[in-house]
Amino acid sequence: MRTKVMVASLLALSLAAFAADSASSPTAKLGAPAPGFTLDDQTGKPVSLSDYSGKIVVLGWINRDCPFVQRHLKANTFNNLNAKYSDKGVVLLGIDSSHMHTTEGNAKTVKDYSLSFPLLNDAKGTVGHLYNAKTTPEMYIVDKDGTLVYQGAIDNNADGDLSHPTNYVEKALDEMLAGKPVSQPETKSYGCTVKYAR
C-alpha cells in the first residue's frame, strides 16, 4: 500500500506516481465494482455481498467499544436507517473488523443494542483492508449493480454537538432512490481507529 519511489527527476516522479495510482488493485474504489466477501454473522451463518445482488447494500463499520459508535448505537442511528430504508430495497450490514472481537461477542452486541441488522465478524481484518476502512463508524454504499457509490462518514457530526446533523448515507440513499446520482460520493469519515491486528 505504501509506495516508496526514488525520484530522479520530475518526469520519473510523475511516471512513478501514475503507476502507483493506476496499478490494478482489488481494493474498493468509488465508481468501481465493490469487492465481494463472505463473513459470518452473529449467529455463525455465512453472509456474502453477492447474496444481495439487485439490492442497494449499506456497509457500516462498527466497534462496540468505540465511543463514536456507542453514541450512534444509543441514538439508534443504524436501526433508524434500517427501518427507514429496509422496505425500499436497501440492506444494511454491520461489519466489525476489531481483531479482538468474536462471533459470540457480536451476538451480544446485537442483543445489547437490539440491532435490526446482521453484524459480520471480520476479526482478521480482510474485508476492512479490502475496503480500506480506517474508522468506526465508516460507511459504504453499493448500488443495485454492485458499484461502490459512497464511502465516508455517517454524518457531519464528529463532535456530536449538532442539533440537526446531515446524515450523508440517508442523503445518498434518497438521491439513489429518486434515480439521481449521489451528489457527495466521498466524505472524510471520523471516529476511532479500526482495531486491526498488529
Binding site: L13, Y190, Y196
Partner: protein, 291 residues
C-alpha cells in the same frame, strides 16, 4: 491593604471542576496558568493549558489525521475579553495497524492562547476566565473527555509577569508562523497523477530531517506522506469525489531536526525539533480535477 492582598496572589489559580467520569477511563490532568499574576486593561496576556494524558495514551493535534478528534479549548469569558486561536505545539505522528496515521501527543502537552482584556477594567476587581478543554484520549481504545477550569486574575495598572519558565518551554515547542532562514529554500515540485497531484518538498539545507503535518482542508484527501530521503517529503493530494475545495492552499506544518540525532517517536521529552507553518498551492487541483 488591598494591594498587599493582591500581592499575595502569586501566579494564576487554576480550579479544576466538573471532572467527567468514565468507566475505566484514562486519567487526563488539566492545568491552566497565566503568564501574568495580574492583568491590566487592554494588555494581552497568555494562558497555558497543559493537558496530560496517562502514560501510553495520546491526545490529538488540530488535524487528528485519519481518526480521532482535535483537542479543543472553549472559552467562556467576561464581556469585552477576546480569546485568540488555540496554539498547538509540534505534534508527533502515530502509525497504527492498517496503515492508519494519527497526529498528536503523549505526555504533558501545553497549548497556548492569547487573551485580550477590554480597554476599560476596574483596578482591584478579580476577573475569572472560564473554559472547557475537550479531547479524545486513545491507546488501544479511545475515550472522550472534557474538563472545565477557571483562571482568576486581579486587575492592576501594570501587569506582573508570572510562570515565565513554563511559558518559555511552551513557546519553544510552538511552530513559527514563517519559514526560518536556517532551513534554506524549500522547493515544491508538483506533478499530475491519475486522480490528483503528487507533491515533492525539498530543502537545500544539509543534514536536516524533515517531517510534514498537513492541516485539514475539507474535501481534500492528502495521502501517502513519505520521506524518500531526510531532506524530502512526498505526498499525494486529490479532491474527494463530488467535493469542491473551500481554499486554494493547503496549510502544512513542516518540522525539522538534525538528521544525526536520535529521535524517540511519540514522546515529548527532550524534543529538539523545530517547525513552521507554510502553505502549498492547490490551484492545479481545484482548477482541473474537480468533478
Amino acid at each position: 491593604m488591598r494591594s498587599a492582598r493582591l500581592r499575595c496572589i502569586v501566579g494564576a489559580i487554576a480550579i479544576l471542576l466538573a471532572k467527567q467520569a468514565f468507566a475505566a477511563s484514562p486519567s487526563v490532568d488539566v492545568k491552566a496558568v497565566a503568564n501574568t499574576a495580574a492583568i491590566a486593561p487592554g494588555r494581552p496576556f497568555q494562558v497555558a493549558v497543559t493537558v496530560t494524558p496517562e502514560p501510553g495514551w495520546h491526545i490529538y493535534w488540530k488535524n487528528p489525521g485519519d481518526t480521532g478528534l482535535p483537542t479543543k479549548v472553549k472559552w467562556n469569558l467576561p464581556d469585552g475579553f477576546v480569546a485568540g486561536e488555540l496554539q498547538f505545539p509540534i505534534p508527533h505522528q502515530f502509525t497504527m495497524p492498517g496503515d492508519i496515521t494519527a497526529y498528536g501527543y503523549e505526555g504533558p502537552t501545553t497549548f497556548l492562547v492569547t487573551i485580550t482584556p477590554p480597554k476599560v477594567l476596574k483596578a482591584g476587581e478579580t476577573i475569572t476566565l472560564k473554559a472547557t478543554a475537550s479531547w479524545l484520549c486513545c491507546k488501544e481504545e479511545c475515550v472522550p473527555g472534557r474538563e472545565t477550569f477557571e483562571v482568576s486574575l486581579p486587575v492592576v495598572e501594570q501587569p506582573v509577569p508570572a510562570n515565565q519558565p513554563l511559558f518559555q518551554d511552551a513557546q519553544a515547542q510552538m511552530p513559527l508562523d514563517h519559514p526560518p532562514t536556517a532551513l534554506g529554500t524549500i522547493r515544491v515540485e508538483i506533478s499530475k497523477t491519475a486522480v490528483g497531484q503528487a507533491f515533492t518538498l525539498k530543502t537545500s539545507a544539509p543534514g536536516l530531517k524533515l517531517e510534514m503535518f498537513p492541516e485539514n482542508v475539507p474535501g481534500l484527501s492528502v495521502s501517502d506522506i513519505r520521506s524518500p530521503t531526510d531532506s524530502e517529503i512526498q505526498f499525494n493530494a486529490r479532491v474527494m469525489e463530488g467535493q469542491t475545495l473551500p481554499v486554494q492552499e493547503l496549510p502544512v506544518l513542516i518540522v525539522y531536526r538534525n538528521a544525526a540525532e536520535n529521535h524517540a517517536a511519540g514522546t515529548n521529552s527532550a524534543d529538539s525539533r523545530s517547525g513552521f507553518y507554510t502553505k502549498i498551492s492547490l490551484s492545479g487541483l481545484s482548477a482541473s480535477d474537480t468533478h
